[in-house]
């Protein structure tokens, strides 16, 4: 044990000498975890859809089909990469990158638990960069993802993808404003844009923000489903109507869009608990440290609690996909502007009232 600790302090002194190393290690761990989760949420969705639809889903590759994501990735990797003659080759190649990086970049500002305490008393935060304007950063970066879709459809030089990109542009107009307004109500409650502050505020108030912002939560859920491009708002894809913005893509470039979509699902499913469901706070327990628990146990339980909340949210999204038909894109615009926007605004006023008069 002592040798281990000595080894650690050597490593630590090195890392402190070059702080960038800490960030690189954290980024490595985070990306690894996110990729694994994204890979397995595709499998989880396919298996779950199988159960909803009275079939089995992929269960051949490995036990319970657990190696299926690897097989899928390998398959996409080995496929021929086709760039249509009619396309704009530069934008065509760039679009998957645009779609791919925003959800992954967004994870940087998440805080996944209370800090980990080393035996020598040094603390390590479960976040890469817990910046002041975390929520704002997330809003900005997640809106960038739509450019990937628009560029992909537009640069394909084909008509069906063009429709996909037009639809995704109009879809963005529909969901972006209510989404932001519903998030702002949370920011107002917490009084901070920093994600860890928002969770801390929920711990301090001893209630989660979905209680005062219940309308906001519903608005957030609906518009985030639209942001994820999933049923009932999977219009840019609309597989039975326009086949989708990625019609012309093949092989790994298509896989980038695919991974980006699921990364978005994971991203939103992790953002929602932080904003509305108390993040890494453990429900029904006020403060574990009061019961004499070690801070590290608290932080591990916090990660588990966060993961459980996110999983429930993600499962809900999958359930929605198995149940509902698809909206038309003009109907989504109508819902966005005539239904979601007014109630998101009303929610803002209600939350402001609660904050002003009830929580003084």
């Amino acid at each position: 044990m002592d040798t281990l600790l000595n080894l650690w302090s050597t490593i630590e002194s090195w890392m402190l000498a070059f702080p960038v190393v800490i960030y690189l290690v954290k980024i490595g761990i985070l990306l690894g975890c996110v990729f694994a989760v994204v890979a397995y949420i595709t499998l989880a969705e396919r298996r779950l859809l199988g159960f909803y639809q009275s079939r089995l889903g992929p269960n051949r590759v490995g036990p319970l089909g657990l190696i299926q994501p690897v097989a899928d990735g390998l398959k996409c990797f080995l496929k021929e990469d086709i760039v249509p003659l009619n396309s704009n080759p530069l934008l065509f190649r760039l679009a998957p990158v645009f779609a791919f990086f925003p959800p992954f970049a967004g994870f940087a500002v998440f805080t996944f638990a209370l800090p980990w305490v080393m035996p020598n008393g040094r603390t390590y935060h479960y976040s890469v960069a817990d910046v002041d304007l975390g929520v704002l950063f997330i809003m900005a970066i997640s809106s960038l993802g739509i450019f990937g879709l628009i560029l992909a459809g537009w640069s394909s030089g084909s008509k069906y993808p063009l429709f996909g990109s037009l639809r995704s542009a109009s879809q963005m107009l529909a969901y972006e404003v209510p989404l932001t307004l519903s998030v702002i109500s949370v920011v107002m409650m917490a009084g901070s844009f920093r994600l860890s502050d928002i969770v801390a505020a929920q711990q301090a108030y001893k209630f989660y923000f979905f209680i005062p912002c219940i309308i906001g939560f519903v608005v957030y859920f609906i518009s985030s489903v639209a942001e994820m491009n999933r049923t009932p708002f999977d219009l840019p894809e609309g597989e039975s109507e326009i086949i989708g913005f990625h019609t012309e893509y093949s092989g790994m470039r298509f896989a980038f869009f695919f991974v980006a979509e699921y990364a978005n699902v994971v991203f939103i499913s992790m953002l929602a608990p932080a904003l509305f469901l108390g993040g890494y706070d453990i429900p029904f327990v006020n403060d574990l440290a009061l019961y004499g628990a070690h801070p590290n146990i608290v932080s591990i339980l916090g990660v588990c609690s966060y993961a459980a909340k996110s999983t429930i949210f993600a499962l809900f999204v999958i359930w929605v996909r198995a149940t509902f038909p698809r909206y038309r894109y003009d109907q989504l615009l109508k819902i966005g502007w005539l239904v979601l926007l007014p109630i998101a605004l009303a929610n803002l006023f209600v939350v402001a009232g609660i904050k002003l008069f009830l929580l003084k």
Partner: protein, 376 residues
């Protein structure tokens, strides 16, 4: 359309209509149907149907086969309603040769016809819902259809294209245990249909996607010659089983569900209700199954008298008619098939006026075309 645009748009932005090929390879055209759409944005300005990608020359082919030899090919018209096609041609030849079909055989035909109608409607239900985006329904529809295919396999020896009836009657009695299996299936299907109705009929999204979409008025529907649920969705009470009775249908008690507005939703409701009526008919037929002969007195070599004959049945998609001109030999001089999908497809132009691409998909689904029948 141009006139509706605000003036600044007309001056600054020149917008052009766009031509879009929907099909022949498109997931929602249910086969190799091709629609050339002229679009303003996603709104359909003009629709040009192109059919014929699946033309197999069945009508010409029939002229080179004797009446018995020709029977199996008609299964391939509407391959989701093969038994009904079979009933049509067999009935036409029987009418031409003035053959008497035993009553028991007629009952058996009614049972198999209605099972086939159920199978076809379930397949329609599955694909129509998938077109509108409810993906799980696809699997439910196919799952319910599976026992029907099993019943066909047990009785006919074939699942999809069973070559069901010979001219003059039926081949075999139902195998042992078949009737019970059939009753069991019907009993299980009834609550399932209720389930699916709760999943879709009351669903706001489903209603928003279907109500008021693809409207065709009563008059237009008649003028275009539509038939089947596509016609009845507009509120016209025409069902061959009732209007031009054939087989044993006059002996059964069933309702003909009608729509009011003639939109996608009404056609959907019509078919859902029709499935319940089919179950009713099958149950009555199973209960009242008469004793007696199955095979009629059909000659080995069928030399038809000179003349012409037209016989129609109510197929799953609508009125299916066979028109045979005989020159006195054992082969038809000319055989024409009035296929419901082909004629119903004509209504698509009227239904898709001012619709969006997404509506177009819903409308094609609601007409329930099978391209094997459209192109023949």
């Amino acid at each position: 359309m141009n006139a509706e645009k605000p003036s600044y748009m007309r001056e600054v932005l020149e917008t052009r209509e766009m031509e879009l090929n929907m099909g022949p390879q498109h997931p929602a055209t249910h086969g190799v149907y091709r629609a050339i759409l002229t679009l303003d944005g996603e709104r359909i300005m003009k629709l040009n149907s192109v059919v014929g990608y699946l033309h197999r020359g069945i009508e010409k082919w029939a002229e080179y086969r004797t009446y018995q030899q020709g029977v199996p090919i008609y299964d391939r018209l509407d391959y989701l309603g093969a038994v009904l096609n079979n009933h049509g041609i067999v009935g036409a030849v029987e009418k031409l040769l003035q053959l008497e079909v035993p009553r028991k055989a007629e009952y058996q035909r009614v049972i198999c016809d209605e099972l086939q109608r159920l199978a076809s409607h379930l397949m329609w239900f599955a694909t129509h819902a998938l077109d509108i985006g409810a993906m799980s329904v696809l699997f439910y529809g196919v799952r319910e259809r599976e026992p029907i295919m099993d019943l066909f396999e047990a009785h006919f020896g074939q699942r999809l294209l069973p070559n069901a009836y010979p001219i003059g009657g039926c081949r075999l009695d139902f195998p042992k245990g078949w009737t019970e299996a059939c009753r069991k299936f019907l009993k299980a299907l009834k609550p399932r249909i209720d389930d699916y109705e709760t999943l879709l009929t009351g669903n706001r999204m489903w209603r928003q996607r279907t109500i008021g979409v693809g409207v065709i008025s009563k008059e237009d529907a008649i003028a275009y010659g539509l038939s089947g649920p596509t016609l009845r969705g507009s509120g016209v009470c025409f069902d061959v089983r009732r209007s031009i009775p054939y087989s044993a249908y006059p002996e059964f008690d069933f309702e003909i569900p009608l729509g009011t507005n003639g939109d996608v939703f009404d056609r959907y409701l019509c078919r859902m209700k029709e499935m319940r009526q089919s179950i009713r008919i099958i149950e009555q037929a199973l209960d009242g199954m008469p004793e007696g002969d199955l095979k009629g007195k059909a000659p080995k070599i069928m030399r038809a008298p000179m003349g012409e004959v037209y016989f129609t049945v109510e197929a799953a998609k609508g009125q299916l008619g066979y028109y045979i001109v005989s020159d006195g030999t054992d082969k038809p001089y000319r055989l024409h098939i009035k296929s419901p999908s082909f004629i119903n497809l004509q209504g698509l132009n009227r239904m898709s006026e001012g619709a969006l691409i997404a509506d177009m998909v819903a409308i094609i689904g609601s007409i329930d075309i099978v391209l094997g029948e459209v192109d023949r």
